[in-house]
Amino acid sequence: MANIELNHIRHAYMPNPQSKKDYALKEVHHTFEDGGAYALLGPSGCGKTTLLNIISGLLRPSEGDLLFDGVSVRDLPTEARNIAQVFQFPVVYDTMSVYDNLAFPLRNRGVEERVVDETVRHILNIIDLESKAHRKAQGLTADEKQKISLGRGLVRADVNAILFDEPLTVIDPHMKWVLRSQLKHLHKQFGYTMVYVTHDQTEALTFADKVVVMYEGEVVQIGTPNELFQRPQHTFVGYFIGSPGMNVVPCTLEGDGARIGEHVLPLNGIGRFGSGASLEVGVRPEFVSLRPSGEGLPIQVQGVEDVGRYRIVRAKLDDHDFHAIVMEGEEIPESPSAVISADNINLYADSWLVGREG
């Protein structure tokens, strides 16, 4: 296990990057702590795969350094970095048995057959494939194959980190639950440093202790799932995390309140820090409660979607889309208005969160 230090890393796919735009990965400066579970989350093209490839050694960063436990590995090839990786589509050696697949990384490194056997049996037990040890890998299901690729990483006692590149893409929803909780268990049990790339917020938030949200080549926020949910640093994080995403409505400041159309929302003191060209308030649909009209912001309901556990109210606030979530069993009043507690309102100046402290 190791901690992974990304030291002012930037990467451009073109030879002579001039402006910031030319970089596929704008400056990243962060340390993945030893034994942490991290997720890189963002839409396609946000640079998360570039960053993963830099860590795995497939790409050499244009600028900056990469250190494992303080030692630079920037110029080391993949095989010398002692990492394990699980890919989007299961990579197994078709002609080998499950057992031989797991033994492969050890045998390649000249490990004694007695030790190989012991380790492989142990890992087979952990990934729950003992009964299929001598089956050919080819005929197995996608989730079993993914377990084999994970297992090939686990057999090596000395891996610095396990990297996951959207590993659950081809897995059925029910199996996703099983695999995810097995992964969590492994992490708790062995304390591997894990980096998990995904565009799926549920996967990222449930897997990671810390989530790195990326957007257009930049890290926009690194935080715990809770922080990302409660206090998105950027409107993009608010939009990207949560389903539906955060309601973002332009406003102007009026004393310690935010004026939206004809209404003023109290801001509990954060208003005075707001400066910048464009101001917006952000409110999670989960924090909107609907009351009979008169109390809060009047909204025009456009439609209600019942998804069983809760209902999504799609509405307009002036001309802006505004969503609210109503839990099972709760009523939706006729011509409702939205009531939001000041604590759950975030203020954004030029898309970045306005601080609360001070």
Binding site: L58, T78, F104, Q138
Partner: protein, 294 residues
């Protein structure tokens, strides 16, 4: 996957069926007809029964040619398949080198067979041919018209030159279809070059290799034009393969009955060998076709 039956489809394949009937089935039946009869010209035919077949299988001339053919086919397979794989592995996967290599590889395949023969016939001549001249000058005695070994070497090298490209192109197609993640995973697992070849590349090339072996076997077993142009089956009978012998018998000696019998036996041998190859190779890989989708 089963498809809905569309009877119109039969009309679409009708021209082909007619063509195949005229070009294959009818001639084949004629050959069968000839093989059981004797003729002295003037369209006079006499029933011969299995006589020609018995004669043929007992004749040394036939078995010698058959053995020569087998040795030839196995030699070129033993050279072309590994060589083809090797060249395919060395070819670039991306960049400007790809089209260049592909065109270079395709060139020999575009040369007509008799031209290939003529090229090598001239190339190997000791007086004016570059190869023959150089070899003789550096002290290696080389004369394919006199020396059976030289004749064999010429015919084999010629075939290798002509057809290895086909194996290369097939293998290359198999190789480029391997996703990059496999190589990356193998590097992470610390696999050697050999292990990557053995456990990733070879299994993924398995299918195309099967096609390559079949095609090359059938083609080489039926080889006629090139050795006919270069050596004419000589010196002596040393490069007389079944096809050359057959032509000699049918057109040279006009022994229609024995030639027809030989054609049939020849045809059956190719059929049997191809079938054996196919079965053995599909079983050796023991790869069940992947069940895809639902």
């Amino acid at each position: 996957m089963e498809k809905t039956v569309n009877n119109k489809a039969w009309f679409m394949v009708l021209p082909v069926l007619v063509l195949v009937a005229f070009s294959a089935v009818i001639p084949l039946m004629t050959v069968v007809n000839y093989s059981v009869q004797d003729t002295f010209g003037n369209n006079q035919f006499f029933w011969a029964g299995t006589e020609w077949f018995v004669d043929l299988l007992a004749s040394e001339r036939f078995t010698d040619a058959l053995v020569r053919n087998l040795i030839f086919s196995f030699s070129i397979l033993a050279i072309q398949i590994p060589l083809g794989i090797f060249i395919a592995l060395c070819m670039p996967r991306k960049g400007w080198g790809v089209p260049v290599c592909l065109v270079l590889m395709a060139l020999p395949l575009l040369v007509p067979w008799n031209v290939v023969g003529t090229i090598w016939q001239v190339f190997g001549r000791a007086d004016i041919g570059l190869l023959g001249y150089v070899l003789n000058n550096i002290g290696i005695e080389y004369n394919y018209t006199q020396d059976p070994v030289a004749a064999w070497a010429t015919v084999i090298i010629m075939d290798v030159w002509h057809w290895t490209s086909l194996v290369v192109l097939l293998c290359y197609a198999g190789l480029v279809s391997i996703p990059e993640a496999y190589y990356q995973a193998a590097r992470i697992d610390g696999a050697s070059k050999w292990a990557i070849f053995r456990f990733i590349q070879l299994p993924k090339m398995h299918r195309v290799l099967l096609i390559a072996v079949l095609l090359r076997f059938m083609d080489s077993f039926m080889i006629y034009t090139e050795p006919f142009v270069v050596t004419g089956g000589g010196p002596g009978n040393s490069t007389t393969f079944l096809s050359i012998d057959l032509v000699k018998m049918a057109l040279g000696q006009f022994d229609l009955g024995p030639a027809a019998a030989m054609s049939l036996v020849y045809f059956l041998i190719i059929l049997v060998f191809s079938w054996v190859f196919y079965t053995v190779m599909t079983n050796v890989g023991a790869e069940k076709p992947e069940t895809k989708g639902e």
